[in-house]
Amino acid sequence: MSAPSTSFESLCRALAQGALVLTVNKRLARALRSRFDAWMLESGGEVWGTPKIQGLNTWLLRCAGDLDEDAGLLSESASLYLWERVIEAEAAGSELALLQVPASARRAQEAHRLLVEYGADLSGHPLSDDHRAFLRWRAAYIDACRRGAWSDSVLLPERIAAALADGRLTPPAQVFVAGFDDPPPRLTRLCAALEGVGCRVTAWSGLLPAPGACLRTAALDAEHEVRMAARWARRLLEEDAPRIGVVVADLQQRRRLVERVFREELAPDSLIDLEGAEERFNLSLGSPLAELGLVTAALDLLGLSGRISLDSLSFFLRSPYLGGAQREGAVRARCDRKLRAGRRESFSLTHPPAGIAASVPEFSAILAALATASGGRRRRSLGEWMAAFGELLAAVGWPGERPLGSLEFQALKVWKERLLPAVIELEPVSGLVERDAALDLLRRLARETTFQPETPDGPVQVLGLLESAGLEFDHLWVMGLTDEIFPAPARPNPFLPVPLQVACAMPHAGAERELTFARALRDRLSASAPTVVFSHPLKEGEVELRPSSLILDFAAGTPLLAGSAAPLAVLEGVSPPLETLCDESGPPLAAARAVGGTAILKDQALCPFRAFARHRLAARGLEHPEPGLDAATRGSLLHRVLENFWRETGDQAALIALSEEALDGRIAGTVARVLGERFGEEAQAPLCRIEGQRLCALAREWLEAEKGRTPFVVHGLEEQRTVVCGPLTVDTRIDRVDLLPGGGRLIVDYKTGRVDLNDLLGERLLEPQLPVYAGEESAETLAGVAIAQVRRGDCLFKGVAAADDLLPKISAFAGSKAAEKAGLNDWPELLERWRDQLAELGGEFTRGWAAVAPVAPDKACKFCDLAPLCRIDETLADDEEAES
C-alpha cells in the first residue's frame, strides 16, 4: 500500500475517474459521497456518475455475487444463529442452563473469525474448559455448515483474494481504503491481493495536514460534560458553523443522556410540544426497536398465553395500540379499576372475568382471539409463524385506531421492512420451530434492531469513537476520556488462550496494544478538525475519576459556551414565587343523607380531609394485585362462615349440645358452602382448599371461646339500621346482636386484626360502627358492645359492658380502669358521650370540614393512600418507628 494520502481533492479526482473507495462503514461512505457531491457542484458539475464508494463488507458481498458465490453464503446473522443452535445443543445437557446464549454465540463467532483472519490455531497452548468447549462448538458449527452446504462469510475475504489472484474477478484500477483505525488482517491481505494484480491501493486518512488546536476541559460528571458540549455546539450553530462533531467515548452507555441533553439545549421547545419532532442533531446510535410503544405492544400481545396477569391485562386495557382503544377507552379504564379492586394476580385467558365481556365487548373479543392463538407444540417455518403473527395482530386491531404519528409510522416501517425479513432470513438455518422459539427470535431481533428516527444531515453529528474514523469536522468535541476508558482495559476473547491472542496481536488482546491504539486514536482525532476539545468527567456518583493521561499534554481551558437553553435553566430566576393558600374546608354537604355508611364517620374521626376526599370527591387510588387471597377476602369469608353457622345453630345451648364430630361437620359444611358461593369451581383449587382448612380451624377455635361465655341467643345477624348522627344520616349494618339471659342486648362486630379498645373510648371515636349502632339503644336494654377478635391463638372479646360477667374477662364499665381513663362514671354516660361524639363527627362532615389533621400518623396515614392529594408531607414528616 502506498503512503496514506490526506487530500480530499485528490481523492475526488480519482473518484471521478472511476476509482473505488472502500470505507470502514456505511456512514463514512455516505459522508464521503455527499462531500463528493458538494465538490462536484462546487466545481460546476451538473450530472456525474455516482462515485464508487462502498463499505468494505458491501463490496465483498458484491464480489461474491459477481463470482456467483453469494447464494449459499451465510449472512452474519444467520451464522450467529447457527452458533447459537450449536451452543444450545450442547448446553441443553448441562446442569445449569447457560445464562446468555446469544452473547456467548457472539463471542464464539468472534473467536472463530479471529482464528480464521489471523491464521491461528490453538494447538500448542494449554487449554481450559472454556477453550475446549469452544473447540467443540466450532467443530459442530463447521459441520453444520458443511451439511447445509453453506459457505461461511468469515472465509469470504480469502475467497475474493483468491479470485482476484486467479483472474476470476477483474480488479479495479485504483482503490482507496478509508476510515480503518485498526486495519483488520482481512483488509491487509485483500489489499495485497489487489496490488498483486496491478491495482493501485492507497490508504486515505482524511486528516488535516497538521493537528488542530487542542484544549482539555474537565466536567463535574457525565451529564455536565454532555451539557457543556451541547452548549458549545449551540454557540457554534448560532455562528453558523457548518460541521460540528461530538465524539462520545462511551456512547453506548450515554445514548439516552446525550439525546436528552442535546434536545434540551438545541430544541427545548420540542420537549413541550410532545410531537416527537425531528431532532436538530444527528445521533449515530438508535434505540432498540423493541422499546417503541407500538412494537412493545405487538410483542406483548403475541407473547400472551395460558394465564394473563392483572398487570398485563391492565396494560392492554390502556394501550392505544389495540382495536377499540379509542371507542372503548373510558370503559376499559373503568373496567380495569374494577378488576383491580378484586386484587387477583392473574386470570385464565380462556375464562377471563365475566365483567370484561359485559362491559368491554371489543376487548373481550381481542382476548378471545389471543386465547386461541397459542401454538402448542406445532412446528412451522419462521415465515409461516411471521405470517401467523401478522394475522393475529391484524385480528386484534393492532396498531390501533389512533392515527399514527410520524415516529410510529417509521417504526411500523422498520418492523415490516427490516425486522420481519431479518427473522425470515434465518429460516434456512432454523428449519421448523415451535411458536415460542419463533417469538423469542422475533423479540430478540426487535431488541437488536435499532430504530433511528429520520433526521436531517444537520451540522451536528454525535458519534462513537470508532465511527468518527475518516470524518473531518470544523469543530470537534471528544468526551468521556477518563483513564479507565482511554486506553481501554484489555478485553481478550475468553474462548481463546490469552497468550495466543497476544502473540498474534489480536484486537483487545492486551493492555499494551490498547495503549498503542489509543494513542493513534488521539492523534487521529486531534487532526480531524482545526479545533478540538477533549473532555473528561471528574466523578461518577461517589467515585472519583481521573483524566486519561493521553490528553494531559493538551492545554487546559474551557471553550466558549452558549447560555443554557434547557427549560429548567430558563425558568431559573423568571419564576414568580408560589402563592400560599389556606384551604381547609369544602362546601357544606347539600343532602343530609350520605352514601358510605359508618366509614364516613370513621374517616372523619381519623382525619377530616380523608372523609372529604373519600366521600365527597370519591378519591380512590387503584388497587394492587396481591398474591394468594388478600386480607379483605379472607375477612369476609370468615364473616360469612360465622354468620351462616349461627343462622343454623341459633344459640349457645345448641352449640354446646353439638358433639365434637357434629360441630366439626357443621363447620366444615358451612365453610364448604361459603367457599363454593364465593369461588364457584375454583373452590377446589389447592389454595382454596387450604383456606377451607384454615377457616375450619379458626371457626372451631372461636366457637370454643364462645362456649365459655354466659348463655346467649343469637338474636340478629347482619341487621341494617339507619341512624342519625347530628345533622347526618347514615346507613349501617352490624355483624351480630346477642340476647343475654337478663334480656340485655350485646352488639358484636367481628375483626380479624388486633383490636385496640382505645378506639372506642378515646377522645376521637375511631371505631364508630358499634357506637352508631348502639345509638339506637337505651342504656337499659343495651348490655354491652364488643369487638370479637377472631385470630388464631388470640381469640377474645374486647369491649365494654354494663355489668360484670356478661362477657369473659370484661367487667362492668362503671368504676373500671377504662372508665377512669376515659373520665366517665358509668355506662349511660358512655352512651351519652358516644352520641355527642357521633353528632360532632356528623356535623364536621356536613359542614365540609376537611383539615389535614390525622389523629396519629401511624394510625391514620399508615393505612391511607391519599398522601399525594392531602399533601401531608409538605406540612410535616411523620415518624413511623414504633417502640415497644
Binding site: D37, S104, E275, P320, K416, P421, E425, L545, R792
Partner: protein, 1114 residues
C-alpha cells in the same frame, strides 16, 4: 511529628516476602500502609497484574488507585522534605524504575493496576470463564434484584396449581403459614436474597440420615452450652450443690418437676447433651421460674420451714446462693438452659424443614431462569458462579489457566467485613501457596469496626484467619495502634470506655472482639473531649433542639470545622432535620430522606399515573391539586363531587361542571386541562420519560421546584427511563416500587460543613465534631425468616424452620438460633458505637434518654445503644423529679397547613429553540411520495415477496446483460433454481413462498430472453450499462438515481426501467396507469441522462418482462 509508636510494625508490614494480617484501628492510616506495600510489591513483580488489591467499595478502589497513581507521578518530582513522605516517594521511585525496565507504562495505562472490589473481581473472573461460570457473557447487574426474586417466588409458588415438583411443599408451607401466600412469597424473596449463604448448606440436608447429622449439631450445641456453665460453676460448690439438690428433691411431694431428678444424682452431671435434664434439675434448684437466683426458699422449692435439719439446710442453701450470685454470667447461663433447643426436631418441624429443603433449591433454580429471561443477575449470582468456577479447578495448572494470570500477591482491605463466600474465594485463590514461595497475602482490617453483619460480614473470620491462617497461608500478626485522627482527649475517652465494654476474650462464633487500645498522635485539646447529654424521657423534639444547639455552637466555634450528626437508623433523623430546616441550618444528607415522600416526587408520580390511566381518580385529583394547578377544595368538589362514576378526564370535558367552578379555578383548569389532553393523546407514542417530562414542564412542574426538588425529580425521570415499557409501565406500580429504594438528593446549597448520615455511612470518614443523638432509642424489629441457620465453628450447622403462624407455635431451635443471632447483634452494636465515636477528631457529644422504671430509676431501653454504654454512662443519668416532670412537654398547638401553587396567570416562558440552516440533502430519484409509501405499508405480506422477487430479477437481468445473451439459455435458467431460491431466502422470502417466487423470477427472465424486445434491450450495444448510478442537480435539487438499463440504439439514448409485475386488467389501461405512476421518476432520469450524455437525444421507457409489456415516456 515524631515517629508513631508503631513505626517498627509499619516498616515490617512492607516486607514483600511475608504474609500479614494487620489490625488497624480507627485513624491508624492503613490506606497509606496499603499504598506503600503495593508500591513495594510493584518493584518486585514481573507484571503489575500479579498483584491484586481488593477493596470494600468502588469508591475505595477509586481512591486507592488515585493515590497510587499520584504517588507514582510524584516520584518524577524531587524528593519531599518530610521523612514520612520520603519513604513513600522512595518506594514509588523504585516502582517506577521497575516500570521503565519492564515497559509497563503504568502511568499511561493504569488499567494494569488490579485494584478492585470483590464484586468487580468476581465479575472479571466470570467474564473470563463464560462456559465454566455458565454465564455465557457477563450479564447486567440488576438495579433492583428484588423484582427478580419476586418473580422467582411467584413462579415457584405458582406450582401449587400445576402439580409436580414443589407443589406439595408449597401446600405444606402454606398450611404452616396460615395460608398467607403473601407471607410465603415475601419469605422466599428474603431467602433468595441471601441464598449465597444457605445454598451450600441445603445439599447436606437431603435425607433422613442427615436428620441425625443435624440433630448431632444440636446436641453439640447443647453440650457446648453445658461446658460453658460447668466452667462457670466454682468447683468447690459442686458437692454441696449435689447434696442440697438431693435433699430438696427428697422434700418434694411426688410432683413432676425437674428438681425431682436431683434425687438420683450421685455425681455431678457431665457436659454431654444427654446430661441436660440433670442440669435442668440443678437450675430448678437454684432459679425461680422467671430465671433469677432464688431469694427466698420455701416448701415448693424443696426447703420446708422448720427447725433442725430443715433450718440448717435452708441456711446452707442461702449461703450457696449468695456465693453463686457473685459469679458473673452464671445466672444468665443457667436461665438459658431452659431455652436450649430440643435435640430432636419435632416431626412436624422436620417435615417443614424438608419441604423447605426441597422448595428452596427449586426457587433458586427458578431464579436462574428469571435471570436468563431478563439477562440480569444479582451480585450474589456473580459471586456464587465465580466461586464455583474457581472451586471446580482441581489442579493448580487449571486454576492458573482459569485465572489467566499468575497472582503473586493479594491485598485485602476491610477484611473484618469478609463474608463466608469471600473467605472461601480467597481460599481458592491461594490454594497451593507455600510460605516462602514468593507469594504473599496481606489482609488489613479492624475487627472492632466490623459493622456489616446484615450484609453477612463475619468478624469471626478475621479472628480465625489471625489465629490459624487463611486456608493454607499462615499470617503474621501486626497490630497498629497510632491514631492519626483524633485528639488525645477523644482517644483516651474511647480507650477508657470501650476497653471495659468489649468482651474480655475472643469469640469466633459470636464475633466477640477484644478491645485494642490506640495511642494518640495529636495532642490533647483544652476542654472536655466528650459530653453526655441525658434526657429522662423520650422527647425527640427536645433532643433535636439540643442537637441543633450543639451543631450551631460547634460550627460557630471553629470556622473551618466539620460537624456530623450520626445515627443508627435513618428514621432517627426526622425530628432533627425538621429543626435544622426550621433554624435555617443547611446540611448535606445522603441517603436519608426517602424520595417517595417528597412532595415534588409525589406530584410527578401522580402526573405519570394520571397520564397512563384515566380511571386513576386519586392521581387525577392530585394533579389538579398540585402546585401547578392548585384547585381549591370547593372547585374540586364542583368538578368531581358526587360523581364517582365518570372519569375525571370526562368531567374535564363537561361544560356544566366547568361552569360551576370559580373564575379562578376555571382559568387554572383551562391551561392545565389543555396540556393534559394533549399529553394523553401521545400516550405510548413517546418514551414515558419524554411524555411525562414534557407535560410536567408545560404544566409548570419545573417552576414549582427548588434546587433540591429538581434533583429529586431528576431521579424520578431517570427511573422512568429504566422502567419504561413501550412508553408505559409494565406494572402501574413499577415506579413506586423503584422509588422505594431511592433517597432524596443532598441539599446543593450546603457547604458540607454540617453533615447527617447513618453510622454505617460514616465508616472511613472523619469530622471535627461528632454528635450522636437518639442513643436511647430501640432497634428496628427483626424479620422472621423461613429458615434460620448458623454456622457454628464448634458445633457445625444449626438449622431450624420457621414455626407455624398459628399464634401458638414456638420452636426452641428456631428461638435458640435467634438468640445467638441476637447475641451477635449485641456485640455488633458495640462495634457500631466504636465506629461512631472514633469518627470524631476533636469533640464528641452523646445524647439519649433513659426513662425511669417503676422504682423511678432510669433504665435504658433494651437493645438501645445507650443500653450498651450504660455501665459507663449510667452515672450521668440522674434526674430530680422536677427535671423529669419538666421534660414532659405539651403538645404544640396546630398551625393550619397551607398549600402552595403557581399564580393563576402563570405562563411558561418562551423556550429558544434553534432554527437550523437548510441542508442540501440528496433525494432518491425513484422515491415515492410519503403518502404512497404509507399506503404500501398496510398491504399484506405478498407485497414483501414481490419486492424481493423484483430485486432478484434486476440482479439476474444485470448479469444477463453483462455476460451476454448467448450465454443464457432456458436450461441455464432452470439450473439456477436452487441458487435463486437461496438468494430469495437471503433477501427474506419465507420458505413457503420460495418456489413460487422463483417461478416468477424465472418467468420474467425467460420472458425477456424469448421476446425480441427483451433481447433488444439486453443485447450488447453501444454505450450500454446496467444499474448505472448517476448524481446531479435538477431544478436545484440534488438527485441520486440508479438506471436499470441504458444503451444507444439508432442514435437514441434509451433508459429502460424494469417492472416485475404481471398485467392486471386490460393491457392498455394497465400500461397507461404504470407510466403515469412512474412518470416523475422517469422524467428525472431523462433530465439526468440528457446532461450526462449530451450527444444523443434521450428517451425513457418501462419494460415488463413478465408479459413483454413496453411503454415509452411521451
Amino acid at each position: 511529628m515524631s515517629a508513631p509508636a508503631d513505626a517498627q510494625a509499619r516498616l515490617r508490614a512492607i516486607d514483600p516476602e511475608r504474609s500479614f494480617i494487620v489490625q488497624a484501628p480507627a485513624g491508624s492510616g492503613k490506606t497509606e500502609l496499603l499504598i506503600q506495600r503495593y508500591l513495594r510489591l510493584l518493584a518486585t513483580v514481573r507484571r503489575p497484574d500479579e498483584i491484586l488489591a481488593i477493596t470494600f467499595t468502588r469508591k475505595a478502589a477509586g481512591e486507592m488507585r488515585g493515590r497510587l497513581l499520584r504517588a507514582l507521578r510524584e516520584a518524577l518530582d524531587p524528593a519531599p522534605e518530610s521523612a514520612h513522605q520520603r519513604q513513600t516517594w522512595e518506594l514509588a521511585r523504585a516502582a517506577l524504575a521497575r516500570d521503565a525496565r519492564q515497559g509497563w507504562n503504568l502511568l499511561d495505562n493504569p488499567s494494569l493496576l488490579a485494584i478492585q472490589t470483590i464484586d468487580s473481581f468476581n465479575a472479571a473472573l466470570t467474564r473470563r470463564m463464560p462456559w465454566i461460570s455458565r454465564f455465557g457473557a457477563m450479564p447486567a447487574i440488576a438495579e433492583d434484584p428484588f423484582s427478580l426474586y419476586r418473580e422467582a417466588a411467584r413462579r415457584v409458588t405458582g406450582r401449587l396449581d400445576q402439580g409436580g415438583a414443589g407443589s406439595a411443599e408449597t401446600a405444606l408451607l402454606l398450611e404452616h403459614l396460615d395460608n398467607r401466600m403473601d407471607t410465603l412469597q415475601e419469605m422466599l424473596v428474603a431467602m433468595l436474597a441471601r441464598r449465597d449463604q444457605w445454598l451450600r448448606h441445603l445439599g447436606r440436608v437431603k435425607s433422613e440420615r442427615q436428620r441425625e447429622l443435624l440433630e448431632r449439631s444440636l446436641a453439640d450445641f447443647v453440650g457446648n452450652r453445658l461446658s460453658a456453665i460447668k466452667a462457670l460453676l466454682p468447683a468447690d460448690c459442686r458437692d454441696e450443690l449435689l447434696e442440697l439438690g438431693r435433699y430438696a428433691a427428697g422434700q418434694l411431694d411426688a410432683e413432676a418437676r425437674p428438681l425431682c431428678r436431683c434425687a438420683g444424682l450421685t455425681e455431678f452431671p457431665g457436659t454431654a447433651a444427654a446430661a441436660l435434664p440433670d442440669w435442668l434439675a440443678l437450675a430448678d434448684l437454684l432459679l425461680t421460674s422467671t430465671g433469677t437466683f432464688r431469694l427466698r426458699l420455701d416448701k415448693n422449692g424443696g426447703f420446708p420451714a422448720g427447725k433442725g435439719e430443715a433450718a440448717a439446710r435452708k441456711t446452707q442453701m442461702l449461703e450457696l446462693l449468695e456465693r453463686l450470685r457473685a459469679v458473673v454470667g452464671l445466672e444468665r447461663a443457667l436461665a438459658e438452659l431452659r431455652r436450649l433447643p430440643d435435640m430432636r426436631y419435632p416431626d412436624g418441624q422436620w417435615q417443614v424443614l424438608q419441604a423447605l429443603v426441597e422448595l428452596l433449591p427449586l426457587a433458586a433454580a427458578e431464579l436462574w431462569l428469571v435471570f436468563r429471561q431478563e439477562g440480569q443477575v444479582d451480585f450474589a449470582a456473580v459471586a456464587l458462579q465465580a466461586l464455583a468456577a474457581l472451586g471446580g479447578a482441581d489442579d493448580p495448572s487449571e486454576l492458573l489457566l482459569r485465572l489467566d494470570a499468575r497472582l503473586s500477591h493479594i491485598l485485602v482491605d476491610e477484611f473484618q467485613d469478609t463474608s463466608y463466600l469471600q473467605y472461601y474465594l480467597l481460599g481458592h485463590l491461594t490454594s497451593g501457596w507455600q510460605p516462602g514461595d514468593g507469594r504473599t497475602l496481606f489482609v488489613v482490617g479492624d475487627p472492632m469496626q466490623s459493622i456489616y453483619l446484615f450484609r453477612e460480614a463475619e468478624v469471626g473470620l478475621f479472628l480465625r484467619a489471625r489465629a490459624r491462617g487463611l486456608a493454607a497461608v499462615p499470617l503474621e500478626r501486626i497490630d497498629l495502634c497510632a491514631n492519626f485522627r483524633s485528639q488525645q482527649g477523644i482517644v483516651d475517652w474511647v480507650n477508657a470506655v470501650f476497653a471495659g465494654l468489649f468482651p474480655a476474650e475472643e469469640d469466633e462464633a459470636l464475633g466477640g472482639v477484644v478491645y485494642a487500645p490506640s495511642a494518640a498522635v495529636h495532642e490533647m485539646l483544652p476542654g472536655p473531649a466528650c459530653a453526655v447529654h441525658p434526657f429522662a424521657l423520650r422527647d425527640d423534639a427536645a433532643e433535636a433542639e439540643r442537637v441543633a444547639d450543639l451543631a450551631e455552637q460547634a460550627l460557630a466555634e471553629d470556622a473551618g470545622g466539620t460537624v456530623a450528626v450520626l445515627v443508627r437508623a435513618r428514621t432517627h433523623l426526622t425530628g432533627i432535620l425538621r429543626v435544622f430546616s426550621a433554624r435555617g441550618l443547611r446540611f448535606s444528607a445522603r441517603d436519608i430522606d426517602p424520595l417517595e415522600r417528597r412532595p415534588a416526587v409525589r406530584d410527578l408520580l401522580a402526573l405519570t399515573r394520571a397520564l397512563l390511566h384515566p380511571a386513576d381518580r386519586l392521581s387525577w385529583l392530585s394533579v389538579l391539586r398540585a402546585p401547578w394547578c392548585g384547585l381549591t377544595l370547593a372547585d374540586l368538589e364542583a368538578l368531581c363531587g358526587g360523581d364517582g362514576g365518570r372519569l375525571v378526564p370526562e368531567l374535564l370535558e363537561d361544560g356544566d361542571r366547568l361552569a360551576a367552578l370559580s373564575a379562578d379555578g376555571r382559568r387554572r383548569l383551562e391551561r392545565v386541562g389543555a396540556i393534559l389532553r394533549r399529553a394523553r393523546a401521545r400516550h405510548g407514542a413517546l418514551p414515558l420519560r419524554q411524555l411525562v417530562e414534557g407535560a410536567w414542564l408545560a404544566l409548570g412542574g419545573g417552576a414549582c421546584c427548588d434546587g433540591a426538588a429538581r434533583k429529586d425529580t431528576a431521579r424520578v425521570f431517570a427511573l422512568m427511563e429504566e422502567c419504561d415499557h413501550g412508553g408505559d409501565l409494565l406494572s402501574l406500580d413499577a415506579l413506586d416500587e423503584g422509588l422505594a429504594r431511592l433517597f432524596a438528593a443532598p441539599d446543593s446549597g450546603a457547604d458540607g460543613r454540617l453533615q447527617v448520615m447513618t453510622i454505617h455511612k460514616s465508616k472511613g470518614l472523619e469530622f471535627d465534631t461528632v454528635i450522636l443523638p437518639g442513643l436511647g432509642r430501640g432497634p428496628a424489629g427483626g424479620d422472621r425468616h423461613l429458615l434460620r441457620w448458623l454456622e457454628h465453628p464448634d458445633c457445625g450447622l444449626l438449622l431450624a424452620p420457621v414455626p407455624a403462624l398459628d399464634g401458638y407455635a414456638r420452636d426452641a431451635t428456631y428461638e435458640a438460633i435467634g438468640r445467638l443471632e441476637a447475641a451477635k447483634q449485641d456485640l455488633e452494636s458495640l462495634r457500631l458505637l466504636y465506629v461512631a465515636a472514633t469518627r470524631a477528631k476533636s469533640r464528641l457529644h452523646l445524647l439519649g434518654h433513659a426513662a425511669p422504671d417503676k422504682e423511678g430509676v432510669p433504665r435504658p431501653l433494651a437493645g438501645s445503644l445507650l443500653g450498651r454504654l450504660w455501665p459507663v454512662l449510667g452515672l450521668h443519668f440522674v434526674f430530680s423529679a422536677a427535671e423529669a416532670a419538666d421534660q414532659e412537654g405539651e403538645p404544640a398547638a396546630r398551625t393550619p397547613p397551607t398549600i402552595r401553587r403557581l399564580p393563576a396567570d402563570w405562563r411558561l416562558p418562551l423556550l429558544p429553540s434553534l432554527s437550523l440552516p437548510a441542508v442540501v440533502r440528496a433525494r432518491q430519484a425513484s422515491g415515492h411520495g410519503d403518502q404512497e409509501s404509507r399506503l404500501e405499508l398496510f398491504t399484506g405480506w405478498e407485497a414483501e415477496t414481490a419486492r424481493h422477487v423484483g430485486t432478484l430479477c434486476h440482479l439476474y437481468l444485470e448479469r444477463i446483460a453483462r455476460e451476454g445473451l448467448e450465454r443464457w439459455t432456458p436450461e441455464r435458467i432452470a439450473g439456477e433454481a436452487s441458487a435463486g431460491q437461496r438468494r430469495l431466502a437471503r433477501l427474506g422470502v419465507p420458505a413457503a413462498e420460495l418456489a413460487e417466487g422463483w417461478n416468477k423470477v424465472a418467468a420474467a427472465l425467460l420472458g425477456a430472453l424469448a421476446a425480441p424486445r427483451g433481447r433488444w434491450i439486453l443485447g450488447a450495444r453501444e454505450g450500454a450499462a446496467c444499474e448505472l448510478e448517476l448524481s446531479g442537480r435538477i431544478n436545484g435539487e440534488l438527485l441520486h438515481a440508479a438506471v436499470d438499463r441504458t444503451f444507444v440504439a439508432e442514435g437514441i439514448r434509451w433508459i429502460v426501467d424494469y417492472k416485475i409485475v404481471a398485467c392486471q386488467g386490460g393491457r392498455e389501461a394497465f400500461l397507461a396507469g404504470q407510466i403515469e405512476r412512474y412518470r416523475p421518476q422517469l422524467v428525472n432520469y431523462v433530465a439526468l441522462m440528457s446532461r450526462y450524455d449530451g450527444a444523443h437525444p434521450v428517451r425513457a421507457a418501462l419494460y415488463f418482462p413478465l408479459f413483454d409489456g413496453w411503454r415509452e415516456l411521451d
